[in-house]
Symmetry: C2
């Protein structure tokens, strides 16, 4: 196996409403490399949310305005403690503040999640495939906390062109035994890998992950969402 | 930024009790590359558990023997539904089956977590640093499920030489605003990245992750464990 490389896409300017996210990412790709079949382009949702105008001006930088916005974005509050709210978004994600984020948005502004991150991913994918003549996957990411473990990791909130879950069921392990544990959240692993070059303070909102074996799919992020009836923690 | 590369370490034989995990990994490194300062060597716990003799012969391959072992390894049951048990291990991890794994162990055998994954990581680190003359980090991984999201990801269960959490608090974002969301679970992101070349069915139990910026630390995995009093999901 040849290994995996993660290439940070530098020089992408701050996006604002009406910007063309696919063009911003594509220009950065063209200025430093190109795309080849099998590449996965990872884009933080903030770039997309800003380009799609999903930015809200708050009356002030205090907690009340922010809390109001969180309640608006949430379809269900899962847990609440002091200022911390864990909520389910309309997309089905469970995360802090229903995805409402005040960092990297300028003072007294908040960035919301894209309306439909799969669709956002697919728009970028179609444009980049056409521009670079390669068959690729696109993942849109956000930064989530986890139950039980401190620290944040980037995860996928939208995906186009590739499977969200890599299903190994029926594969055998190195002893020939059928694998029991077999559904790998491949888009979350790619999102986490990409964050190693994007970081939170670097201003790099996109990366190319090259060398991962994945299968094509049009199912989007839905297969990665655990249905409430099989979830033990909501 | 130069990007990150993930190199699968091929040709590592199946380990058994008494094997020298550091030598097995070191030989694989030497046969295909070397180590340089800043490299992170990622090793799945199964290699280490087997080398450390943390393998249990079960009387049969049925559910009862397995369940008994899980109860033995758990210090606390967090949730139970049918055959599924989410439990806290003595190390403080919350995961399915208290880390007891029946795959990749041969029929009617189970692999337990290492007694002290930080210590296992540190032993490997000291040996590899001496052998290759480079300052490195070592991460020991396992494959965990998550609340709310389907599919499994590899996470860190032991770490040596490097910080578990990369603390950005006090850093500013690209607008100069102080970051609120700022503790990155860098070892979990590296573990997930490494799994992209290791996979579950490939028999590749180790990888080198090169090009990540990290800070040295001797604190091990503990900073990554959320204390019960601040945990909303146990």
């Amino acid at each position: 196996m040849a290994g995996v490389t993660i290439v940070p896409l530098e020089g992408i300017p701050e996006a604002s409403a009406g910007d063309d996210a696919a063009a911003l990412v594509g220009d950065a790709i063209e200025s430093q490399t190109s795309l080849i079949d099998g590449d996965v382009v990872v884009v933080t949702h903030k770039l997309i949310s800003k380009a799609e105008g999903r930015v809200v001006d708050l009356p002030d930088d205090g907690p009340d305005a922010h809390r109001y916005l969180v309640e608006q974005e949430a379809v269900r509050i899962i847990r609440r403690r002091g200022p911390l709210v864990i909520a389910q978004t309309k997309h089905g994600f469970i995360c802090a503040n229903a995805g409402v984020d005040r960092s990297n948005a300028g003072q007294a502004r908040a960035v919301l999640l894209p309306e439909d991150p799969d669709r956002s991913a697919n728009r970028i994918r179609i444009r980049l495939q056409h521009r670079f003549g390669a068959t690729i996957g696109v993942i849109v990411t956000d930064t989530f906390g986890r139950a039980w473990r401190r620290g944040l990791v980037d995860v996928a909130i939208g995906v186009a062109g590739m499977e969200a879950i890599h299903d190994l069921r029926g594969s055998t392990d190195t002893f020939g035994k059928v694998l029991e544990v077999s559904e790998v959240a491949i888009v979350d692993e790619i999102a986490a890998a990409a964050d190693l070059v994007m970081g939170k303070a670097t201003g790099i909102p996109a990366a190319i992950v090259r060398g991962v074996a994945w299968r094509p799919s049009d199912a989007g992020i839905t297969p990665l969402l655990r249905p409430p009836e099989e979830d033990l923690f909501r």
